[in-house]
């Protein structure tokens, strides 16, 4: 019996908590993706690159001596206008055409290529490490964890709750949901739909940037850092249902837990295929994902 508890404590608990800290990060990425899709019907292929951009902006600010906590506040404020401009300059142009799904996907894909190479040009291809702002560790359930990971989970939970409240409990969120549900009706009721679109894109981009800074001390910063994450984030969004905040949250936590626990039994290089297999299975049974989409719930 005590052997079982020991296994639970020393084998499973660390995996579960590590999985949770990755899960929170993935959920932050997936939230931005799913909100942008839910409202604009745009698959943002450059989302991973915006995540990297957040990290690079953070690294640059820290290099000129700005405190990490101030950077954490500044990055979303810098990223949001960039996101707003991206929507206005590029996505608006193809948004009203017939096959806008594919055109916007291609456009953001082109943007991703450009951004990645720009990072290489400015910062070089090597990985930049970021000093952990909270050192040390604490004991949880008798196992030692870095404090920063615990902080990451806490702040991630705060952000997720914050986003949920913003979308479902404020009048701003109601405007966004109204525009997603029926843009003509929302427009005739006085919702500035095109600004809501650009604003939502900016919000998603700011979230990706914030995730980038938050994870920089854990994973270090390099030009393709977004790519390694984006497939997992897409799987999460698809399993949860494109456009669903609740779905992104639940699927994000469940899939990363499956990854964490299955890596005890299979080689870690096969955990990604496993998650993908789950995504395919979900798509075959429930093509719209587990939960409905933003504004349609």
């Amino acid at each position: 019996m005590s052997g079982f508890i020991d296994t639970l404590q020393f084998v499973f608990a660390p995996q579960i908590i590590n999985g949770l800290s990755i899960g929170v990060a993935v959920v932050l990425m997936a939230l931005g993706l799913t909100i942008i899709f839910g409202l604009l019907d745009v698959i943002n292929m450059a989302h991973g690159e915006f995540y990297a951009l957040g990290a690079y902006v953070g690294v640059t600010l820290m290099a000129i001596g700005v405190n990490f906590w101030v950077v954490l506040l500044l990055v979303p404020l810098i990223m949001a206008p960039l996101g707003y401009m991206t929507e206005r300059l590029f996505i608006q142009r193809v948004f009203h055409q017939k096959d806008r799904h594919i055109l916007t996907l291609l456009l953001t894909f082109g943007l991703a290529i450009v951004l990645e190479d720009v990072y290489k040009l400015i910062y070089g291809p090597q990985a930049l490490s970021v000093k952990t702002p909270i050192g040390g560790g604490s004991e949880v359930l008798g196992v030692f964890f870095p404090n920063y990971r615990l902080f990451l989970m806490a702040i991630g939970a705060v952000i997720i709750v914050g986003v949920w409240l913003l979308v479902y409990r404020t009048s701003l969120g109601a405007m966004v949901r109204a525009a997603a549900f029926d843009k003509d009706m929302a427009s005739s009721l006085g919702v500035p739909v095109s600004h809501v679109y650009a604003g939502t894109f900016a919000f998603g981009v700011a979230l990706a940037g914030l995730a980038g800074v938050l994870l920089a001390p854990v994973y270090s910063v390099f030009p393709t850092m977004g790519k390694d994450f984006i497939l997992l984030a897409f799987s999460v969004v698809i399993v949860g249902g494109l456009g669903s905040i609740k779905g992104a949250l639940i699927a994000g936590l469940v899939l990363t837990q499956i990854q964490a626990i299955s890596s005890l039994y299979i080689s870690p290089s096969w955990t990604d295929p496993l998650v993908f297999a789950i995504m395919v299975a979900v798509l075959m049974i429930r093509p719209q994902g587990l939960f409905g989409r933003l504004g349609h719930a």
Binding site: R93, I102, F109, L111, V114
Partner: protein, 347 residues
């Protein structure tokens, strides 16, 4: 059968509509003739200068053009955007490399095995992917390619991250003569012939009832079953054919380079094919070949100044999506057609 398939397009097309379609197809065929003529012209000039580098570069452009043709078959004719077509290109390249190195250095055997393997894998991948539509299809294909790339990267038997090196130079046997893949000029002609055979075969395929139905699926997928046709089966069929074309193009790659590496399977590779299709002209089949030549040339030129050529390519691609979504051949085709129509009115 002809009547029933034309009914699929919604209404019975009147005579002028059919004529316009014929004109469009003939214009595209002329673009194909121009392409072959330009390729031969290039070969003559390169041969006179005794060049090897540009022959190799042009052969590579043709191979990537074949890859992109498979993507265009899905995107331009069926309305399915595949973001993971590198799966089949890499599959063909690896299969061919394994056959040439491990089994026998035979051109035809490599192509035959690739055809079989890509049919099986294409059918499995197709069954998974075609259930999904639009962006879901794009993301599933994207994911499948990523998974296979990771699997190959982690498989030591396939060389892992190094890939397979030392694929032998072979002699392709054509009964009356043989082509040495080590000879840059001869191999260029071989690849040109193979790719153009693909082009004309696909063009003929699209004229058959099967091909007309595939186009109908792009126009309105929901309407197809109401007319008594199985949309899913046709989608699967065209998916497998697109996989075959891309894999067979991939099979030529190790003959040119002598090695294959997991990079062929990466998203970068799939993305490149999509860029090629959009730049060249989506839904034209010949457009991707022009696109591939232009893109390969651009990369080579910009690459000699800076290693950051992707910034230029990416910006060009974004501009193309925003301002010239029809691509080069698509835009030119429109001009030629309206010129032909004007001339006809005058006469």
């Amino acid at each position: 059968m002809r009547d029933s398939t034309s009914a699929v397009l919604g209404a019975l097309p009147s005579r002028p509509v059919l004529q316009r379609e014929d004109v469009a197809r003939n214009v595209l065929r002329w673009f194909a003739y121009v392409f072959v003529a330009l390729a031969l012209l290039f070969a003559v000039i390169a041969q006179v200068h005794g060049d090897v580098f540009f022959f190799r570069l042009a052969t590579e452009a043709l191979i990537y053009g074949g890859f992109a043709m498979g993507v265009d078959l899905l995107l331009g004719y069926t309305g399915l955007l595949s973001l993971g077509h590198a799966l089949f290109f890499g599959l063909g390249a690896y299969t061919s490399a394994v056959v040439l190195k491990g089994l026998a250095p035979s051109f035809w055997l490599a192509l035959a095995v690739t055809l079989c393997v890509s049919t099986v894998v294409g059918a499995i991948a197709g069954i998974i992917a075609i259930r999904a539509r639009g962006v879901y299809f794009a993301l599933i294909t994207f994911g499948m390619a990523e998974v296979l790339a990771k699997a190959v990267f982690n498989t030591q038997e396939l060389g892992g991250s190094d890939g397979i090196i030392g694929v032998p130079v072979i002699k392709a046997n054509f009964l009356f003569f043989t082509v040495d893949t080590g000879n840059a000029a001869h191999f260029f002609f071989l690849v040109l012939a193979v790719i153009m055979v693909f082009y004309f075969a696909l063009e003929a395929l699209l004229r058959t009832p099967f091909g007309r139905l595939v186009v109908a699926i792009k126009a309105n997928e929901d309407r197809v079953p109401f007319l008594g046709f199985n949309a899913q089966r046709h989608k699967l069929g065209i998916f497998v054919i697109a996989a075959n074309v891309t894999a067979l193009s991939g099979a030529l790659y190790p003959m040119l380079r002598g090695f294959v590496s997991p990079e062929l399977l990466y998203f970068h590779s799939s993305g490149n094919a999509v860029i090629t299709v959009i730049l060249g002209g989506v839904g034209t089949l010949i457009g991707p070949l022009f696109g591939s030549v232009i893109l390969t040339g651009l990369k080579s030129i910009i690459g000699s100044y800076t290693e950051h050529h992707l910034i230029v390519i990416g910006l060009l691609f974004m501009c193309s999506v925003m301002f010239f979504p029809k691509g080069i051949v698509g835009s030119l085709k429109g001009l030629v057609e309206s010129w032909l129509a004007r001339r006809k009115e005058q006469s």
